[in-house]
Symmetry: C3
Subunit: 344 residues, 3 copies
Amino acid sequence: MAKTNPGRFFEDYRIGEVITHAVPRTVSGGERALYHALYPSRHALYSSDAFAQECGLDGAPIDDLAAFHVVFGKTVPDVSLNAVANLGYAEGRWLRPVWPGDTLRAESQVIGLKQNSNGKSGVVYVKTTGFNQDDDPVLEYIRWVMVRKGDLDAPAPDTLVPDLKPVVPADELVIPEGLDFSRYEFKLAGERHRLGDYAVGETIDHVDGVTIEEAEHMMATRLWQNTAKVHFDATNREDGKRLIYGGHVISMARALSFNGLANAQMIVGLNAGAHANPCFAGDTLRAWSEVLEVADTPAPGVGAIRLRLVATKGGIQDFALKGEDGKYLPHVLLDLDYWALMPT
Amino acid sequence: MAKTNPGRFFEDYRIGEVITHAVPRTVSGGERALYHALYPSRHALYSSDAFAQECGLDGAPIDDLAAFHVVFGKTVPDVSLNAVANLGYAEGRWLRPVWPGDTLRAESQVIGLKQNSNGKSGVVYVKTTGFNQDDDPVLEYIRWVMVRKGDLDAPAPDTLVPDLKPVVPADELVIPEGLDFSRYEFKLAGERHRLGDYAVGETIDHVDGVTIEEAEHMMATRLWQNTAKVHFDATNREDGKRLIYGGHVISMARALSFNGLANAQMIVGLNAGAHANPCFAGDTLRAWSEVLEVADTPAPGVGAIRLRLVATKGGIQDFALKGEDGKYLPHVLLDLDYWALMPT
Amino acid sequence: MAKTNPGRFFEDYRIGEVITHAVPRTVSGGERALYHALYPSRHALYSSDAFAQECGLDGAPIDDLAAFHVVFGKTVPDVSLNAVANLGYAEGRWLRPVWPGDTLRAESQVIGLKQNSNGKSGVVYVKTTGFNQDDDPVLEYIRWVMVRKGDLDAPAPDTLVPDLKPVVPADELVIPEGLDFSRYEFKLAGERHRLGDYAVGETIDHVDGVTIEEAEHMMATRLWQNTAKVHFDATNREDGKRLIYGGHVISMARALSFNGLANAQMIVGLNAGAHANPCFAGDTLRAWSEVLEVADTPAPGVGAIRLRLVATKGGIQDFALKGEDGKYLPHVLLDLDYWALMPT
């Protein structure tokens, strides 16, 4: 009996099946410090217990995307070890803050399957939920990946493509209990712009750039216990390059967006996301954002802002995103659509 | 309205003005572990709760220079984003230990302004204070930087150059409450030399060298939320190099100085400092120290030692510091004058 | 009086002498997070407080090898600063889990001396014990190193070569108090294989590879306060390479062995170990294991498995270990013999 994990192939998934992912993980101030060393993160709510307490929370939670990466990392051995491509995200919602000391685990339910016409692979849709040690859900999202078949003769499953919302409606976003921005300290947060200062359609060049190093993306990816070999093993590709985990690009771009969106404090929804082109060490990453929508929330002083976050290499090139053929331009690495909470 | 921070220009500062810096930061064992992974730090008082308790403290504080970097980092977006050069430090004092769990914030008061004769820039003097969550000051220092003018037609301000002490007098150093070196365990600290074993004028070659990597200085600099782009963006300079944050050199040199100054436990005063030449990845950093002064303190068994700490690349070259022209030699990176507490 | 530590030479050791090592170190969630960022560690018992509590512990301890490295690092300035080679390990036992908040210190007793026939060096055998803040031993092991003589005219000591057990007998392994694998959750641990699924003589290719970076091994080595210059100073060797701390290879290989040995949860014994060839940045490290022995323990559901862990560069090459001359093949970096606890 082979002892190592070969990963699952397309024919190994069944609609409705619930996969319990290994390995649960307790997070602490250590994970927070590392997150802030790996990314230029400065959102005050995740940096300062005192600031978070002024906003009605018990203290500073673990960064929103750090919680996402911890949950995502657990799914890799069961969902994407034999994946050809990570195709998309939808209906992501942050349901509860993650605190230092919490232990996170994850489950995924298979909600869609569609074999490709070439018979060699198929698309698997999973709904993943992260839980804390009290079995309270902290995060949920749908993702779909293209997975190779192990046995090309395995019969194609009935096709089921789930009906996905293009955007999480603002009134379905979950606001952390107690959150109150009525005493929000803009000076300490780093910028004076509130929700009303942002216009739908407005674009923001976040100015700064970061040149990516191998040691950093590997440390980040390991921190989430994402062990996909393509990120670590320089002998794995013919060109000797290590592909950078897409989540590293997401976190770097989000951190760069502080400069212009310092008050987009908490990510609470993930509407869509595409890893448009691969990222490698040596690339200099930049970011721009577009305001897509604004909305009210029931919490005092708390609004919601829907943003497109684009990461690029080789400059932001006038906010260009796609070519005439409808495909992402080669300098675009990431196109992410998310909701964040911002003082009104 | 532009959303990103353009930084302040010389004409934007007013004498007496107090700048509240973003972003407050809660520190934990995570920041300590990272500090000890990024630098070969071994001073026992910052490494061991048990050792610190034997010295009368509640536990091991966050390293002295880590506290300095956290406070310094907050000032960068308001003080040095458009700086041409970081010119000097004076009158620095550590006022209170920083403990894991503390939240630090910073304020700076403008205490001096002097436009340069070319009319294109000027020198700004600020006194920066770091506070904890109880609004107790933990650290203060004066620094002056040369800042570009944004509007060359802006009128020159009245010149005010503050009267700075060349050295913090020993009797103005603040000894942490309860500190007591009368039961100091030299074996656990790593060396047997006490204050009386050091002679004024004595020089110490700290022997060890560290070759600097990009990933490390960027992680360190982000950890302090210092986001000056010159440290991160390899496309920012014509030569494709990333300038290393001067504080990284300070911390590396201080950590190397353990070998010969293991009992120079706590930095409590910063008298002066010059970043003599730039440091880049690939440089092999070494350090030497010169004993400048020794003094008593009122605390039991606690003396003060004033040290010159010099960081070099390309060997220490017989303790050479400046050429015949009075300028720093090209291999000298740092010349720092500080006070530390040492058992008598 | 020279202030820096020249290290000890062969003639400086006396049989029976006990060396108190500097510097005690308090560990926290910060060290754990860094360990999990530097190595692809996923053993559930060290990752999750909840999982560890289900196994009868108070929470997740600090990783077994992290505790080893902290203790080992302290011995370097006193034992191996002038070492020519680290020759072997024996009789290693983990005696008590290390918890976040514990402060570790170390002592070594000289238990053997043998001058080499060339008169220029000799072998020093030490038994090292790590203690926590309550003076309880947490770890002990014997190691022997070849150390240069400082004074070639110093007389040779009487030869004493200690009688070392080739393997720690299974009934001398210390099982952590309360450990109980009867409710062990295999799904959360990541694999379904229990002790009975492993056959003596079975070999496991752990599949994954990691290409090593300078920044990572230096951060790891500093984290253990191991300051041997050969790991940090690129000017120290003629070829400009930095030798990677052997413990970095041990931890990387052990973490890679998760894939196939996810349930080999806690290392409790170290029988032998050889650093067969040097490792440098750029090497792609892989690992394989061989099952050497299985045993019962008195704890409920807890068995012991004795494993050979081999790290290689340039592929695992069909589990080849030594050539016809009895010497390790050039691609073999590490050959480690240890005991781990596994659910029965």
